[in-house]
Symmetry: C2
Amino acid sequence: MTPIEIALQEARAAAARGEVPVGAVVTDAAGTVLSRAGNRVEELHDPTAHAEILALRAAASLRASPRLPDCTLTVTLEPCPMCAQAASFFRVKRVVFGAYDPKGGGVEHGARIFNAASCHHAPDVIGGMREGECADLLRAFFVARR
Amino acid sequence: MTPIEIALQEARAAAARGEVPVGAVVTDAAGTVLSRAGNRVEELHDPTAHAEILALRAAASLRASPRLPDCTLTVTLEPCPMCAQAASFFRVKRVVFGAYDPKGGGVEHGARIFNAASCHHAPDVIGGMREGECADLLRAFFVARR
């Protein structure tokens, strides 16, 4: 499976737990998966428990290092400002995301974290990877909750 | 002790552990301290382990609720974009901070998180509380490390 497929799998697992379906994976330069996670905000009563934060922390913990300069963070949804800034702090090389998030996104929208003067490491960004599938998963989840 | 004095105490304790001296405290409407924390980035190999995130997560965990709508987050340094967005997600009523951070701050500088379109809850903000003491602590720490 490719990283975005693994992230999609994590997103589906999050939906099954009643969480907003977002999944993330951290891979190294060779493409080896260091960590994978889905959203656990509800379960942990913790709005910082976004998939990206959980995956980044797990990868750094595995390496016993706060920096992941050779790594790619792949996530099904455009990261929010919190997660975008975290990706910058972890010094990831690249951020790949699926669906764009005009309301809450902080990479291509809103705070545009990587373009702000408060950002001292801007990863490469690729948006729109498997966009349709990633967005459909979110749409179906919110339709079902209405 | 006032909240900023408790935060200063946490910042000094962080410095003693070799961490960038930032401390934070979460208080409820009555002024009761729900949680207090200092920076633990180095210890935990985790750049998300900022004082604010640790204190917010601890307060929410104590309440078994991801929202802290009656609470004030008091911190010795202007929150970075990650922590500012987290404070918004936790729905805190107020953010009080000590020293301004023109380089990395995300409230009055840089990404200005609470003013961005990606921010759906903007806490009240009071900056510059015991600014001199808070800034001196950081300055002394970085001078000693040079």
